[in-house]
């Protein structure tokens, strides 16, 4: 584990959640491609905790094909109906992991529309 990178991402994530400053969010999205599980997870958690604020950055990453499985997973966790079409387009992707992540994201979004998740916002 790269301790310094993880701590920097943790601090950037806290700042991102407080300010929604684009550069910080972009850095977190890029960290979704980190080979090291610990900083990658910290970035994912911080994006997820920022909720809908992360959606524009995640959609950009989706359109550019960056870190697709992680981006799709996060869009399932924080996205809404506005992203379903983009996600659905990837359910038949030739890469099995991408197609599976897309299908799973749609199922998570659908479940999040139902109680108790809808009320809890999670």
């Amino acid at each position: 584990m790269r301790l310094a990178r993880t701590i920097v991402l943790l601090l950037e994530g806290l700042l991102w959640r407080a300010t929604h400053l684009r550069a910080l969010g972009v850095h977190l999205v890029e960290a979704l491609g980190d080979a090291d599980e610990t900083p990658r997870n910290v970035a994912g958690i911080m994006l997820a905790k920022s909720g809908h604020a992360a959606v524009p950055l995640l959609r950009e990453a989706l359109a550019q094909g960056r870190h697709l499985t992680h981006v799709l997973t996060l869009l399932g966790d924080v996205g809404d109906a506005s992203v379903e079409q983009d996600i659905a387009a990837l359910t038949s992707d030739p890469r099995p992991d991408v197609a599976q992540a897309a299908r799973y994201a749609l199922r998570v979004i659908a479940l999040r529309r139902t109680p108790p998740y809808r009320e809890a916002g999670r």
Binding site: T6, N41, V42, M46, T73, D77, Y104, V108, L111, R112
Partner: protein, 159 residues
């Protein structure tokens, strides 16, 4: 266990700790999602996977929120002789298990896990039904599925 057969940790566990570890390509896996809904869906899938494979009273091992997926699974009716939790974020509620369906619960973690810190979960289970084991390792969320850490600290003996 969540890890892909053939991976370092899976191989270590199969060769040294759990000779009956599931090693077929249709292993259980989940998205690793960051929402309660993702974990609830995963728990439903885990329960269905266990049913379809005819597993009765397995030992289940999960890392991070994968361990909470096992806990949710217990509330759906999934029985397990042992639940091994690796670096599991403590979220009670909503992830309180049905202990009547779990024979033994073992938690293995490190000091001040930075991923759990970011996630906002607790690190210590305040319940006598959970056996707490804290390795002499700091910060590293991945350490609990590192074969070198298992060897160095005799983790095999804890489960």
């Amino acid at each position: 266990m969540y890890e892909q057969p053939g991976g370092d940790f899976h191989t270590y566990m199969l060769d040294n700790v759990l000779s009956d570890l599931y090693d077929q390509p249709d292993r259980f896996e989940w998205s690793g999602g960051y929402s309660d809904a993702a974990r609830a869906l995963a728990a439903q899938s885990l329960y269905a996977w266990a049913q379809s494979h005819g597993l009765s009273d397995p030992l289940l091992m999960g890392h991070s929120h994968g361990a909470n997926v096992m806990f949710i699974g217990s509330t759906l009716g999934l029985d397990m002789r042992e639940a091994v939790l690796l670096s599991c974020p403590v979220r009670w509620p909503p992830y309180v298990p049905d202990f009547s369906r779990i024979g033994r619960t073992v938690s293995i973690r490190v000091h001040l896990d930075l991923v759990i810190l970011a996630d906002g979960g607790g690190q210590r289970f305040d319940d006598p039904r959970v056996e707490e084991n804290v390795l002499p390792v700091w910060f590293n969320h991945s350490a609990t599925h590192d074969p070198a850490i298992w060897q160095a600290h005799g983790v095999d003996a804890l489960i």
